[in-house]
């Protein structure tokens, strides 16, 4: 395998391991604890380095797990025992431990193969040179082996505890009542996060690993409501970011880990924009569609009201568009839809006219509007206050609702302003 291949593989393994667990952090609203954890394991790593005098993985895991646990405990203790607000408690603990780690590393810099750069953005570029030797035989880069192990561990962790994790994440009360201790799950998850952080640390550093934890899960959460899909998407996002990040770093002549995180940021930004339903564009589109619907209603209503006064029935197109009282472009869209539905007819001399269907539908809208006014009036709202609410609600009153309200209001046949309430044409 080429060097590039090994580096990309390392990135993919780290990103996917993190994404898998990070999704649960995001869903449990504990992203910041994950952030704190990945900072706070630094002294554990540093101490393990000095004691074992090497990059042996086991002491590092133990050191990191110990400090991960310490972080969780200290945050809890300061919060509960010393009444420190939780976010402040997180802030104090992780900055203190991280500071300790940085000081340890800089004091012993030169004595061990660990420096501030490594802490900040890892050494993924050196992955191919860090080969695993066994019996004088090379077995590929060491980080790849470690991260593969962690990925398998995380897959097993999530796979075996899937139900428990889901339950404890979404409904701690229920989880406790069926015998799953949410606290135990909490600590297990934190332990797994610590180990994953350490394994990824060498490659991407202590700070950027947080992005790998949180961003894929948060992005995926915008795309779906179903946990399996969120997990799958998060893993895909992580993997994609590692591959693309590698090439971008080459292009920019910059840190690979940083570039991976930038790609993750782009993925999140794109998700915020285009995700179906949760995305900003989807929301905008939905709002636009609603406005056009409302504009259609207003055009029909305006025309029907004029019919009622018995005045001239033809409208110049421009006046009819003005009835919608929205942006002209929207009004034209509304008119287009009305014509397509056969509710209005456009004559050759640029006038519009209601068709029979259009007239019927307009009358039904008017009926809804006036029934609602009557209903509010009978509830005690003064008659000069009922038009506004009715204007807002008229678009949502369908046949069955109109019938129900028709049954509720006393059968007066006239609205509070004394105008006739059109009949329910569906009964004719």
């Amino acid at each position: 395998m080429t060097d590039a291949g090994w580096i990309i593989l390392t990135g993919v393994l780290a990103a996917t391991s993190c994404a898998l667990l990070g999704t649960f952090l995001v869903l449990r609203k504990m992203s910041l604890l994950g952030d704190a954890l990945s900072h706070a394991v630094l002294p554990g790593i540093a101490i393990a380095f000095f004691l074992s005098d090497s990059r042996a993985i086991l002491p590092m895991f133990i050191g990191a797990a110990a400090f991960g646990l310490l972080t969780t405990l200290l945050v809890e203790a300061f919060h509960r025992r010393w009444a420190v607000p939780e976010d402040a408690s997180i802030g104090i603990v992780f900055t203190a431990l991280f500071a300790l780690g940085v000081v340890l590393i800089s004091v012993y810099a030169g004595q061990v193969d660990l420096d501030q750069e490594c802490v900040l953005y890892g050494e993924i570029a050196y992955t191919p040179f860090d080969t695993l030797l066994w019996d004088n035989q090379e077995y590929g880069p060491r980080p790849v082996w470690i991260l593969s192990g962690v990925l398998i561990f995380n897959l097993l962790f999530v796979g075996l505890l899937y139900k428990e994790l889901t339950l404890a994440s979404f409904d701690p009360g229920l989880s406790l009542s069926v015998g799953v201790s949410a606290t135990l799950i909490h600590y297990l998850l934190m332990g797994a996060v610590s180990i994953t952080t350490v394994a990824s640390f060498e490659s991407v550093g202590a700070i950027l690993v947080v992005a790998m934890l949180i961003v894929p899960g948060a992005s995926a959460y915008l795309w779906s409501d179903r946990l399996p899909r969120i997990l799958g998407l998060a893993v895909i996002f992580g993997a994609v970011s590692a591959v693309v990040g590698y090439y971008l770093a080459g292009l920019w002549n910059s840190s690979i880990a940083g570039a991976i995180v930038v790609v993750l940021g782009v993925i999140f930004g794109v998700s915020v924009l285009v995700a179906p339903r949760q995305g900003l564009l989807a929301k905008l589109l939905q709002r636009g569609r609603l406005s056009i619907q409302v504009a259609q209603d207003h055009i029909l209503l305006g025309m029907v009201r004029q019919v009622e006064t018995g005045a001239d029935q033809t409208w110049r197109l421009r006046d009819a568009l003005g009835l919608a009282s929205v942006h002209p472009w929207m009004a034209r869209q509304a008119m287009r839809l009305l014509r397509r539905k056969g509710l209005v007819a456009l004559e050759a001399d640029a006038t519009v006219d209601l068709t029979a269907d259009g007239r019927r539908q307009g009358l039904q809208l008017l009926r809804g509007h006036r029934l609602w006014e009557t209903y509010l009036n009978q509830l005690g709202l003064p008659q000069d206050h009922v038009h506004g609410p009715a204007d807002a609600v008229e678009h949502y009153l369908d046949q069955s609702l109109r019938q129900e309200i028709g049954g509720l209001v006393a059968d007066v046949g006239l609205d509070p302003q004394g105008k006739r309430i059109p009949d329910d044409s569906q009964n004719h």
């Binding site: 910041l32 976010d87 402040a88 900055t95 500071a99 992005a211 840190s255 930038v262």
Partner: protein, 446 residues
Amino acid sequence: MFDFLHVLHLHDATVRSVLFGSLLIGATGGVLGSFAVLRRRSLMGDALAHAALPGVALAFLWTGSKSLPVLISGATCTGVLGVLLIQFITTRTRIKADAAIGIVLTVFFGIGIVLLTHIQRSLVGNQAGLDKFLFGQAASMVEDDVRVMSVMSLLIIVVVLLLYKEFKALIFDPKFLQSLGYSLQRVDLALMGLIVLTVMVGLQAVGVVLIAAMLITPAVAARFWTERLHVMVVLAAFIGGLSGASGTFLSAQAPRVPTGPVMVLVATGLFVLSGLLAPRRGLLARWRRQRSNVLRERRHHLLRALVVLQERSDNATRFRVDELVQELGWERRRVAGEARRLRRLHLVDCRDGHVQATAQGLAEGTFVVKSHRLWEHYLVYRDILSADHVDRPADEVEHLLTPDILERLEEILQRDHGIDTERVVDIHGSGSQYRPAGRERNEVGT
């Protein structure tokens, strides 16, 4: 051990200005941090600082200058952008605040790292020094930097003084602030703006990674010592200034060690000390309170035992330790020890294996016994608990009743239930005025 003389050269202008600068940073951080922590905005500073990194790099890339005002301007732009993005994400998407902070913080930091590594690898020469912004290097401050920082700090402090009342109301009673016609958003924005400035002032000396601690840790430490905002602000400024100055001082001993982490460690040390030593809220004070509660309970129990024994034995006053051991159910050693302690307080006399209450001890013991019994009666007669459930609660309460509460209790029991409180005895014992059957009890009651 340390090369103290080297640093103690306070007449050296550079050393002096560096120390003064880091003192200012710490103090300003403490002041603003007090408001940030109380307003639950602790981690905003963290996000803000991380988001400032790409600004530093961009400012350098565009202007090629490394002067502090230029870099700080860049940092402010991206920092504010980061905070706005956090707000945007939390209000416009389903992503919660914690994840939003985490995302913005790391992604901006990632961008910063990309830019910084790009600068380091592509531009040769002039780039050194930018990475000081990561973990901070107070020694890299020159006098001009300190002057800029002093002006900014002064500005921040003046604005805080001017808006003190508004900030106070924002923290403790936002509704009140609104009712005065202030816009909450604007006051909040002013506070955020000041936090931004504070972070920027400290950026060079503390570094983007850890400057959040200079906002959070001194403020939380100060909180232990006081319940009053202005005291807290002053204390936090003091603790922050101390951490800043001594952090700089200590890190100057080992030039490889960046300043930021050392300041943070000093501040954390002061935080832990405060948590241990602060009066009332500190751990030691709380232990001492608990201990004194325990001791008071033991004293009461021993004196009570003496009174009860005296009642039971037709006014004998001296009792053997064995009798007390039996009555109290304690170990012999504890009884003896407690008796010795009470003798020092002139509550009992101990002579040849016998213990006798002094007049003072007898008074206190009688008071405790009476408290216990009257409380039992009160609980029963007010139908709060039945007679066989009142012993435990009375055990708890007997240590807490004060003379005026007891007086009031006596009044109620005498007036409403016709109990002779001077002769009140154990509600369970013979000779009690209480008869469990409901009818008779009603008679007593009416």
